[in-house]
Symmetry: C2
Subunit: 324 residues, 2 copies
Amino acid sequence: MKELEKLMNFRPEIRVVDATLHDGGLVNNFYFTDEFVQNLYLANLKAGVDYMEFGYKASREMFNENKFGKWKFCKDDDIRAIVGDNNTDLKIAVMADVGRCDYKNDILPKNESPIDMIRVATYINTIPAAIDMINNATQKGYEATCNLMAISNAQEKDVEIALELLAQTDVKTLYIVDSYGALYPEQIARIMDLYMNTATKYGKEVGIHAHNNQQLAFANTIEAVGDGANFLDATYNTMGRGAGNCAMELLLSFLKNPKYNHYPVFRFIEDHMAKLKEDGIVWGYDLQYLMTGILNQHPRTAIKFTEDKRIDYADFYCELIERD
Amino acid sequence: MKELEKLMNFRPEIRVVDATLHDGGLVNNFYFTDEFVQNLYLANLKAGVDYMEFGYKASREMFNENKFGKWKFCKDDDIRAIVGDNNTDLKIAVMADVGRCDYKNDILPKNESPIDMIRVATYINTIPAAIDMINNATQKGYEATCNLMAISNAQEKDVEIALELLAQTDVKTLYIVDSYGALYPEQIARIMDLYMNTATKYGKEVGIHAHNNQQLAFANTIEAVGDGANFLDATYNTMGRGAGNCAMELLLSFLKNPKYNHYPVFRFIEDHMAKLKEDGIVWGYDLQYLMTGILNQHPRTAIKFTEDKRIDYADFYCELIERD
């Protein structure tokens, strides 16, 4: 929290990224209705959100199109069916995972695509592959980000080296991704120092994508804002894998730039997200996610616990630490 | 966040206060079963919690005993039925509200009571009455805290004056109470500065009682820890009025003192709190509480919204700002 005195004002460089379809898609296998996506797009426009991520550009070689909704693949035509020519201030993003994306074929030159930004997601041990994807994207004319996943498991020196390598590309933004929801604000401050050092040196932006395992997704996001992060991921009603993400409604209420408006977010949640919950789609803070969070583990076991409709939390914790 | 380097270690002066019966009682009118309270007491013992608050010492002149569970009144004999002579390290606390407590009659001398600590709750405009209650409690032999409610609505100069007056009593701990869940960690840091100035001068402790309207109860609590707060309120599974409080399971997982153990908390939640939710008791973060939080309002309208089982969040927001 280094910007106490600036709480009343705003930093115009801040950009809000709606990651609902990406992270929420991990909850419902990307089976969003067109009506949902269309209205989410309209809500983002009204709310002043800067980027809307439509989902993943997943390889159709590796993933069966019949087993997922279309937003796992984000074909340009599917995006166009929602946004038309997108003559708006809202930019379109997609996520491209290292090792799970045929980026050379599936990502067209920017001037043939409705997409504006490619978000390259990587673990710390696949940086050269991430760099190849970043170069591919920027050469085709896109903005690019690099999202360093599971940052809570990476050693600081490795993060430093990775950031240095990445910063020498044309990547625009370097992201902290707290995949396991394991970090406390104090640790975010420390990691932000690392990121800002490199970002400042190379003229890059820093972003954050947080998870809510310890009810800290929003707190960690605003900690990062105070430390200089300008790219902020959020999802409507926290919808995202496991414990979910930083809530869009919280973030827009915090940011003081008058271009942001939280009312369309409330309206969208009421009109379109209650139905998801009625249909049995489950996400959000619960004890099993807290447990994987504090143990700094991938949430897959906790997601299984949820899917199996288990409520024996204490026994689950014993299972987790037995395997640790 | 002023103690980054101390994240791996712990501060032995820290005390955890279980406020489940107090704040949770505001959700279910204090109708906890004896089995629930007995097991909560045992869970607190196993978890290493320092204080267990049994509820309120509410005036039986003002409140009808037939309309509330017994923990609104916390008669000494009712506490004794749970804790016996309480030959343990867990201290017993009760809350005494200014203007709603017959403290002269209902609070017996310490040597006749199982209670260890009287927590005097006051708004900023009733400090002399709070001081009278504090003096009454300390003269009878109790530890006392003063809990300054709705701190987000108080002017800093008034808070300074109030703290200065309170610090001249034998009160042990001065509490920040974010009744409306309106504060961000940056603001907690600023208020902590005020409190710590007076506390250091007079040898008092500082405490925090947070609400979760913006999913910041835990984040604000650990911010305060970093700023020097040693008395930390939490409730099991966040159970408390409206959006609830700082979760005990999160707080004990964060604190590194080996005397704390989160496993009994998980076990208690599984064994005794799932039933409350099945019975229709509702608490925890939801949009209506976010709305009163960001508007810095008492949550009573949001609680009514919840009780009425309304889900028209966006309309509710319009009602709130119409009245603002």
